[in-house]
């Protein structure tokens, strides 16, 4: 059994929490005592049924305001797959939360209220999905019960979405599904109310969509997180480099280069606790041993010698500003790229995106939730790939050393 992490994006009233509640309810993922707590909470739909949205509105303030503020993670599994849902807020002031939820998602559900159609928020959500290059997109047209399950209304929205969004943005594999989260149509079961719809239910699609994109073996990398040195009598010379393989596959006897120093050695041994595999694939947390004694520490990255990344101190990147304090191009920030942290400056602003209209603006002030293209200058060189070629090694965050807050997300686009 494998795992799919997906994101749900929609605006405040699109019924996003209800959709998630419906998925959990119809897959028997809600337990009796949780249902009982729901009954106790006194919030009901107009027809007296349980308000499934309460299941995902986790924090008190949110329950009071009836909106989702932060990313809430929900878990369920079927016989076919384990799922992790990142339920993210839809309102513009929570763009950073959506970016957070989207960062680990393998699929995005974009919700549209059938009565409203494609609106500014739909464009913004789709832009973020495109920016983060989430591999699969499902456009769920919700509240079909409110328009008598009318095929024409659905088709018009699909046409609008294509014209206004998917023809302009780079989106991968877009599916369109008409649903009613409230009534359960096409969520876990194919709806009898919409015989005109020939596709699968939402759950069917989630269970069968391909999760492993072709693992790119051209970018074999492992950042060093920790050096294992027991320094006991019997393990006096033991020196293992512990980390998680970001991408690609290391094999025994591979020629390996340490960056940024550039020293090269041969991969001598791979350890996975008590196992000694011949190869270490993307996603595995392993300990690697090299034939030669080289000075390697946390922050260095091991790569296949034949597959060198870019090593540079000037990087062009897409940036999403996530702090209430605006971006300051004169300030020295910290950049965290894998296990490496070094100082950095935003040395140039190339443009800012007007996300709702997808226009590039020549403005330099980046406030909370602003997104655009910048040039970053780092104090020490980073060994990176471009996000569009190898996501795992093409991303970073900026930290403000005055507040220690994570203030920006970066996706590397070019060597500047």
């Amino acid at each position: 059994m494998n795992m799919l992490k997906f994101l749900t994006a929609g605006s405040v009233d699109d019924g996003k929490s209800t959709l998630i509640g419906r998925l959990l309810y119809d897959t028997d993922s809600i337990l009796d005592d949780q249902l009982e707590a729901l009954q106790r909470s006194n919030r009901k739909n107009d027809d007296g049924t349980i308000d499934l949205a309460i299941l995902t509105d986790g924090l008190k303030a949110e329950r009071e305001q009836g909106i989702t503020i932060d990313v809430a993670y929900k878990y369920f599994q079927t016989e076919k797959r384990k799922f992790i849902i990142a339920d993210t807020p839809g309102h513009i002031q929570y763009t950073r939360n959506m970016v957070t939820g989207a960062s680990n998602a393998g699929l995005a559900i974009i919700l549209i209220d059938v009565r409203k159609g494609v609106i500014e928020q739909t464009i913004r959500h789709s832009f973020l999905v495109s920016l983060l290059e989430i591999p699969h997109v499902i456009v769920c047209v919700n509240k079909m019960d409110m328009v008598d399950y009318d095929e024409n209304v659905f088709n018009q929205i699909v046409a609008d979405y294509k014209a206004q969004i998917s023809h302009k943005l780079k989106l991968n594999d877009v599916q369109y599904i008409p649903v009613s989260a409230l009534k359960g149509d096409n969520v876990c079961y194919t709806s009898v109310k919409m015989p005109w719809y020939q596709g699968t239910s939402l759950l069917d699609y989630l269970e069968t969509v391909e999760t492993h994109t072709e693992d790119d073996t051209n970018y074999t990398r492992m950042p060093v997180q920790w050096v294992v040195r027991p320094q006991t009598d019997e393990l006096h010379d033991y020196r293992g480099y512990a980390g998680k393989v970001l991408s690609g596959t290391f094999q025994l006897n591979d020629s390996v280069t340490v960056l940024p120093s550039g020293f090269t050695s041969t991969l001598d041994k791979i350890e996975l606790f008590d196992q000694r595999p011949d190869e270490a694939m993307a996603g595995m947390s392993v300990t690697l041993h090299l034939k030669d004694e080289i000075d390697i520490s946390r922050g260095d990255i091991l790569v296949k010698t034949s597959q060198q990344p870019i090593v540079s101190q000037l990087i062009e990147a897409d940036l999403c500003w996530m702090d209430t304090k605006p971006m300051d191009t004169t300030h020295m920030y910290l950049i965290q790229h894998n296990s490496k942290v070094t100082k950095c400056k935003i040395s140039e602003v190339l443009y800012k995106m007007q996300i709702n209209t997808l226009e590039q603006l020549h403005e330099e002030d980046f406030k909370l939730n602003d997104i655009g293209r910048v040039v970053i200058k780092t104090a020490e060189p980073l060994a990176f790939d471009l996000y569009q070629q190898n996501k795992a090694n093409g991303r970073a965050v900026i930290i403000d050393s005055r507040t220690n807050l994570t203030v920006a997300a970066l996706m590397f686009r070019a060597e500047a």
């Binding site: 106790r40 993670y73 920790w226 512990a242 190869e279 595995m284 946390r298």
Partner: protein
Amino acid sequence: MSRKPDYLDELEAEAIHILREVAGQFEKPALLFSGGKDSITLVRLAEKAFRPGKFPFPLVHIDTGHNFEETIQYRDDMIARIGEKLIVGYVQDDIDAGRVVEQKGKNASRNQLQTVTLLNTIAKHEFDACIGGARRDEEKARAKERVFSVRDEFGQWNPKSQRPELWDLYNGKIHKGENVRVFPISNWTELDVWNYIRRENIPLPSIYFAHEREVITRNGQLMAASPFLNMDDEDVVQTKNVRFRTVGDMSCTAAVESYAFEIDDIINEISASNISERGARLDDKVSEAAMEDRKKGGYF
């Protein structure tokens, strides 16, 4: 290595990555060990992350004094086996020093008092990161918590000003006096933990498996009869076949009737069960927002 990686491998690799980030980013981390299956799983993951080296942190146990003796026995045996350092913070010490006052009445429990002992232990040893076994599927408030969750100098969690946490980049930068709670198994469910324990053949305290025990029924739940439970004439002691789904203070951890003697039985039982794990804890029943309030106050 011909076995295709499955979701347990993914969850394991993610947890090991998080543990190694703690080792790399903090000066004085600690692993909070309760004796429950989640923290036992963390110990196994730490072995996978750092062996053949030593753990770069001690284990810390907050001892309420109201323990199941099987848990303490398990703890001491485990420490002897893995050869790592254990620090124990005693709630009794804080009661004796007058820093906390024992609850009164029928439902008295030391569960809430342990927050004070935990915060004192963190302050005394100047821990800057505490690794815990909390999972997001346990409770709604936990569903929104970060893997690296910053606590202010009063030990409080502020759910409204959490740092964005993107990809697998964990920001552990803090000011002096603050500390970070780290949850490596955030993305695991109860069933995932049990499947992992089975796969890895990890021994558990015997109270997780069905056994005969004297219990009383209180608020519709089975509580172990013990000197720590305030009982009166209305309480009828019965002997039943039970097991515990979580391991906490004896005065607030309810048992379930069970004939699950083996781990396979337990996995079957959970898969078929309609009661969530925290549903067997009286401390969460007080109000719907019980967990959120306790977390803000510095609870695990």
